[in-house]
Symmetry: D2
Subunit: 158 residues, 4 copies
């Protein structure tokens, strides 16, 4: 299942390395010796979680079907325009970070606002692509991986 | 929008009165003078909330497309069989109860397990219908309405 | 730390076995071969989690100081009378179940309402004891242990 | 009760205006005509919510008693040093933002990391003061007020 999830993300334009770079960016000030390889490993572990897999399976189908105008109105327009008060995209993403405690949650809130790296690119709406769910899923996976790192640093295994 | 949401629920076999009956059932021991009319009014207020509307719009489309076998695997099978560890249906439903504080949340947990009234009927999988999201949405709307009642009883307006 | 937490719970009148009995009660219909020993093992694992330890450390001090009338008003009265709309006791308890996904959460909601076993005894307010936090902590630990069991049954390790 | 809560915050060094300034700071790029007076009004509305009042009542007592070394170990040291993996301070704060939907939550995550204005001052640990709970409560109240503003802008009343 993890391979399928990884492939689905890649087809939508996001590699594990893209997500790992965000993790490195937000954690390097706390952990100066942190490498991209370690970040990739933590991202990979987050993708093994059933909560992550269910959220990605569901969210990416929503993006793809919205891109193909397959939803009835008003949902179609809400998804295509990524309206600020929709919130289901963040809700789905939060199901990934929840299992990493409050650190996962605050990391997600920060990434959701600061839009680092690939997240910023996904928000570009000029190319017909719909990434309403994907940007939040990527932020959540990065936030969860960063939380794994922080917990691990204090000898906690999640 | 509330009218659209109400119609969508009715098309899937759930009336406001069905939901209000659940509210009456779980609150009548605390509030012996509670009427079905009052419960309908509180359910109606919950349907005015944007969080409720977004969750219903999204969840019912998921159920309908799963019923028509429109999703790729493995999502199609997961949704059709309402697998215990999917969890996105409950996640969506919780976004409705969250705004009513912890009372909303514990009410939802209780309804999700005890499956009172129409919720029990929706869980019947012998008729080809897919209600993977609908049963949790109904439980959440009833839980939210029950929480409104409980808060109101102590002069809090939500 | 787990030993300290276990002792603190025992001093407040709750043994691991008391909590395990609740787990057995709510899971035995799904898992007929489940033993009390297995339930104790899962409760024990939940007590190893930092989230559980922090919630227990904090909640039990609140109960003990409320019992000794050590808080300023209006907090003292709110805690002593376990007022329905306080909610911080449930909030703390939910931090334990959150890391076990939505199953943890719905299990908690169910236990919080149905008050099985020791939880019912803790709600007895006729003896001067204050268990405002303890009853929710016990429900949350039992709910978390039950979720571990359910996940394990499908080869997921938490 | 709102007056008591406001006084408690002031005694711990935080005025409504301090919190309103954070709201203004994070919202002025979206709403260029926003005034400090409006922000104060929204902060004031958040302080009327029972969830806010319970969280402030509880968190400030924790800070004050930790400052006076009134807690048993290991809780006393955990609170005094505001250890990264404690998390109960954020949990309490999140109970304030939860009722404002996901916007409240992501705003809180952002403020918790970026530590704007008074929040930064509260994190100064060189003066013997314990603000383990206060910094998160202030971030949460500001996040909730910012969410009220955002919702209001789209004609939603919370
Ligand atoms: Ca989005
Ligand atoms: Ca379901
Ligand atoms: Ca309680
Ligand atoms: Ca803090």
């Amino acid at each position: 299942m993890k391979i399928l999830i990884t492939e689905m993300l890649e087809e939508r334009g996001v590699t594990l390395e893209d997500i790992a770079k965000i993790v490195l960016e937000i954690q390097k000030s706390y952990l100066p010796n942190l490498t991209l390889e370690e970040c990739i490993m933590h991202v990979s572990k987050v993708l093994e979680k059933r909560e992550t897999q269910n959220a990605v399976l569901t969210g990416l189908v929503m993006d793809m079907y919205a891109e193909k105008n397959m939803f009835p109105e008003p949902l179609q327009t809400i998804l295509k325009e990524d309206k600020g008060l929709y919130g289901i995209d963040e809700i789905l993403a939060l199901s990934i970070t929840n299992i990493y405690g409050t650190i996962g949650l605050t990391n997600f809130g920060y990434l959701d606002k600061s839009k680092i790296g690939i997240i910023n690119k996904l928000n570009d709406k000029t190319n017909g692509k719909v990434n309403t769910f994907l940007d939040d899923l990527v932020a959540a996976i990065a936030a969860a991986a960063a939380s794994r790192l922080a917990h691990q640093d204090e000898d906690v295994v999640i």
